[in-house]
C-alpha cells in the first residue's frame, strides 16, 4: 500500500512538473520579428506664424495714390536660411505643409514657397503656390504635399523663400493707400506620417 502511494505521488508530481515546463516559447523569438510593422503615427507641429500689414513688407515706400498693379504687388520675400537645420528623415515619405491664411485686406492675396540653392542662387524644384485668396477669408487652409523628391530638394537647399503678393479683385483697381495698413496673417505647420519601421 505504501509503495503504491509513493509511486502514485511520484508519478503524479513528475507528470505535473513536466506539464508545467512543456511550454511553447516560439513567439518570444524576437529575431523572427517581421519588418515592416504597421505603426505609422502622424506627427504634427507648428513651424511659424506671423501677422503683417502690407506696408511692413515693403522696404521701398510707395506713394499712397499708386494703384495696385494689374499683375499684383511684389512684397519683400521672407528668406529663411536653413544651414545647419535638416528637415529630412528616412521614416517620412511625405510631409504636408499646412498654411492657415487670414486675409483682412480689401484685395486678393497669394503666397508661395521656393527652395533656393544659396551658391547658384537658383530655385530647386517646384514652386508651391497658394492660388488666389479673396479678401475677408479667415484661417483658410492651404496645404502642400512635399513628396520624397521635394524633401530631397529641401535637403539640398540653403534657403526657403516665402513670398506674398497682393493683387486686385477682378478688374477694379485699388490705391495702395487703402491697402497699406490692412493686415494678413499666416500660420504654418506640418504633419507627416512617420513609418516607425524605417527607423528600426
Amino acid at each position: 500500500m505504501t509503495k503504491k502511494r509513493l509511486s502514485i505521488s511520484g508519478v503524479l508530481m513528475s507528470v505535473i512538473a513536466a506539464m508545467l515546463f512543456s511550454c511553447n516559447l516560439d513567439d518570444f523569438k524576437l529575431n523572427e520579428l517581421a519588418k515592416p510593422v504597421d505603426i505609422v503615427p502622424v506627427v504634427y507641429a507648428p513651424i511659424a506664424y506671423g501677422t503683417f500689414r502690407v506696408k511692413d513688407l515693403l522696404t521701398v515706400p510707395i506713394p499712397d495714390a499708386t494703384p495696385i498693379p494689374t499683375g499684383g504687388l511684389s512684397l519683400d520675400p521672407f528668406i529663411m536660411g536653413k544651414t545647419g537645420v535638416t528637415f529630412n528623415s528616412i521614416a517620412i515619405d511625405s510631409v504636408y505643409l499646412q498654411n492657415h491664411f487670414t486675409n483682412d485686406t480689401p484685395i486678393n492675396m497669394e503666397f508661395s514657397y521656393n527652395f533656393y540653392d544659396g551658391t547658384t542662387g537658383l530655385p530647386i524644384g517646384q514652386t508651391f503656390a497658394s492660388g488666389i485668396i479673396p479678401p475677408g477669408v479667415k484661417d483658410t487652409l492651404i496645404q502642400f504635399k512635399l513628396g520624397r523628391s521635394d524633401q530631397d530638394n529641401l535637403l539640398s537647399a540653403s534657403n526657403i523663400i516665402l513670398r506674398f503678393r497682393p493683387s486686385n479683385v477682378g478688374n477694379t483697381s485699388i490705391l495702395y493707400g487703402k491697402v497699406k495698413n490692412t493686415y494678413f496673417s499666416i500660420k504654418i505647420a506640418f504633419y507627416a506620417p512617420v513609418h516607425i519601421w524605417k527607423l528600426m
Binding site: 511520484g10 511550454c23 513567439d27 502622424v42 504634427y44 534657403n159
Partner: protein, 490 residues
C-alpha cells in the same frame, strides 16, 4: 526510503531540467491546501501543522513566481503574422505566417483605459518553525522582488496615431511608469489558538531594501486648438531611484548617461543594510462550527525607507510652442533658422529638465487582503472560497477563487481551483502536495494551462517548496479531530 529518494529525484530533475525561468506565481490555491506550513504566508493564523517542527530545504525552501496583466497577453501585441498577398503588395511588406508581427491594433483592442503588467519572484533561503500546544512560531529569510509596468490606452493611441488626430482636443497621457523593488525579508511568525474556535496570528517582517525604482504620477498632456496654431505641453511626475547606479549629466543638466557605481560589487549590493523597512501580516481564523471556518488576513502591510544611492527626479514643466515668429525674426534677412531652432531646443530643455534631489524616499509594499471560507464535507473533501484584494500603486486589484480540496492516502493533498482574476476567467488551478515520511513537496498554481502558452497567458503563477516535517502527526485522522485549529488534513 529508496522510493522517497526516487520520487524526489525525478521531481527535482524535471524541475531543473525544464528550467525555473518558466515558472510563475503567488497562488490563491495554496490558501486552503492541507498540511502545508506555508499556508501561514497567506494567513498567519493558518499554520498548517498540528504539532512538531519543520524546516525547509535550504536555498530551495520555496519559490514563488508570478506574472499577470489586466487581461491582455504578449500575443495581443506580438504574434505570428497571417499571410495576405493583397496587403503585402500594397504595403510592400514581407509578413508571412511564419514571422512575428507587432499588432498594435489588436493590442489596443485588448487593453483597458488603465493597464498594468505585474511580475514578482521570491526565493526563501531558509525557513523553520514549530507548533507546541496552542502556539506556533516560525522564522524565515526570503529574497523578494517585484516589478510593475503601468500605462494608459491613451499612451498607446499616441504611439499608434501620433499627435495630429488630437488637434482641437487636449490629449492626456494618463499616469505611466514602473515600480520595482528588491528586498530581503526576515519574518517572525506567531499564531495562537485562543480557543477551539478562534486562532489569531501575526508576522513581523524586518526588511532590507536592495534596490528600487518608483514612479509617481508621471504624465503629460498636449493641448491645441483645432487649427493647430500652438501646442501647449505640460508634464509632471516623480521618479525615485535607489540602486548602485550613478547618473551623468550634460551641460544642460539633463541625464546623459547611467553607469554602475565604481567599485560597488555584487557583494556590496547584497549586503546593503542601509535601506531598512518593516512590514506586518495579520490573520484570524474562526471556526463557525465543526465543519465551517471563516478566515481573513492582511499581508505585507509595510514600508521601506530608501537611503542609499538615492536619486529623485521631479518633473513639472509647461511649454507653449507656437513655432517661429515671423514678425520678429530677431535679425535682418535672410534670418537663419538654426539659432531659432537652437533657442527652441534650449527652452524645451530648460522647461522640461527634471529637478534632481538626493534625499530619502519611502515605498509601500503591495498589500494583500484575503477573505476565506472553508467547508468540510467529510474527512476527505472540503470546498472553499477566497477573495483577494491587492493594493498596489494606489490601485486595487481583486480576485475570487473557488476550490475543492482533498486529502488522500494520508499523504496526498490536492486542491483544484477556479479563479476570476483581474478580469480573466480562464484560471483553472491545481495545488498538490505529498508527504513521504518527513519529506514534503508541494506545488500550487492558479492557472494550470498558462505555462503551456506563456505568450497567450494573462495570469501565471506557481509556488513550489520542499519541507521536512517532524512530529506533526497529520497522517492521523484522530489527530486532526483533536486539534480543530490545525488547518491540517483531517
Amino acid at each position: 526510503m529508496k522510493t522517497v529518494i526516487g520520487s524526489f529525484t525525478i521531481f527535482i530533475s524535471v524541475f531543473f531540467l525544464m528550467g525555473t525561468n518558466h515558472l510563475y506565481s503567488q497562488p490563491n490555491t495554496l490558501y486552503f491546501m492541507k498540511g502545508i506550513p506555508q499556508t501561514k504566508d497567506i494567513n498567519p493564523a493558518r499554520p498548517g501543522i498540528a504539532g512538531g517542527f519543520y524546516f525547509s530545504m535550504p536555498f530551495l525552501s520555496k519559490i514563488d513566481l508570478s506574472a499577470n496583466t489586466n487581461n491582455w497577453s504578449y500575443n495581443d501585441l506580438i504574434h505570428r503574422g497571417s499571410f495576405n498577398p493583397l496587403s503585402n503588395t500594397l504595403n510592400n511588406t514581407f509578413q508571412t505566417s511564419d514571422s512575428l508581427v507587432i499588432d498594435i491594433d489588436k493590442f489596443r483592442a485588448s487593453i483597458d483605459n488603465k493597464n498594468f503588467a505585474f511580475e514578482s519572484a521570491a526565493l526563501t533561503i531558509l525557513e523553520g518553525g514549530y507548533k507546541k500546544g496552542d502556539d506556533f512560531f516560525s522564522v524565515s529569510i526570503t529574497e523578494r522582488e517585484f516589478g510593475e509596468l503601468f500605462f494608459s490606452r491613451n499612451l498607446i493611441d499616441l504611439v499608434k496615431r501620433g499627435n495630429y488626430p488630437y488637434l482641437g482636443q487636449t490629449f492626456y497621457s494618463g499616469n505611466f511608469g514602473v515600480n520595482m523593488q528588491h528586498y530581503r525579508e526576515f519574518t517572525f511568525n506567531y499564531s495562537h489558538d485562543v480557543n477551539k474556535k478562534l486562532t489569531v496570528g501575526a508576522a513581523a517582517k524586518i526588511l532590507f531594501g536592495m534596490g528600487a525604482v518608483h514612479t509617481n504620477g508621471m504624465n503629460f498632456k498636449i493641448a491645441s486648438p483645432a487649427i493647430g496654431d500652438y501646442l501647449d505641453v505640460s508634464t509632471s511626475g516623480k521618479v525615485n531611484i535607489s540602486g548602485p547606479v550613478d547618473f551623468g549629466y550634460n551641460s544642460s543638466g539633463l541625464i546623459s548617461s547611467v553607469h554602475r557605481i565604481p567599485n560597488y560589487s555584487i557583494r556590496d549590493y547584497l549586503t546593503n543594510l542601509k535601506n531598512p523597512g518593516i512590514a506586518f501580516d495579520f490573520g484570524v481564523a474562526y471556526r463557525v462550527n465543526t465543519k465551517t471556518e471563516l478566515s481573513a488576513s492582511m499581508i505585507d502591510l509595510g514600508v521601506i525607507g530608501w537611503k542609499s544611492n538615492v536619486t529623485r527626479l521631479t518633473e513639472n514643466g509647461n511649454f507653449l510652442y507656437r513655432g517661429v515668429n515671423l514678425n520678429n525674426p530677431g535679425q535682418t534677412q535672410p534670418f537663419q533658422l538654426q539659432p531659432i531652432v537652437n533657442a527652441l531646443r534650449d527652452s524645451l530643455i530648460s522647461e522640461f529638465k527634471p529637478d534632481t534631489l538626493g534625499s530619502n524616499f519611502a515605498t509601500l509594499l503591495p498589500t494583500k487582503i484575503y477573505f476565506g471560507i472553508d467547508h468540510q464535507i467529510n474527512d476527505v473533501l472540503s470546498f472553499s472560497g477566497l477573495g483577494r484584494v491587492r493594493i498596489m500603486s494606489n490601485r486595487v486589484h481583486t480576485s475570487l477563487t473557488a476550490a475543492a480540496n482533498a486529502y488522500l492516502f494520508d499523504a496526498l493533498s490536492i486542491s483544484a481551483s477556479y479563479s476570476l482574476m483581474e478580469s480573466t476567467f480562464d484560471n483553472i488551478g491545481l495545488g498538490i502536495g505529498f508527504k513521504i515520511k518527513a519529506v514534503q513537496l508541494y506545488a500550487a498554481s492558479d492557472n494550470l494551462f498558462s505555462p503551456f502558452h506563456p505568450a497567450k497567458a494573462r495570469n501565471m503563477n506557481l509556488r513550489i517548496g520542499i519541507n521536512f516535517i517532524f512530529g506533526d502527526g497529520t497522517d492521523s485522522k484522530k489527530r486532526g479531530s483533536l486539534n480543530p485549529n490545525c488547518h491540517c488534513p483531517f
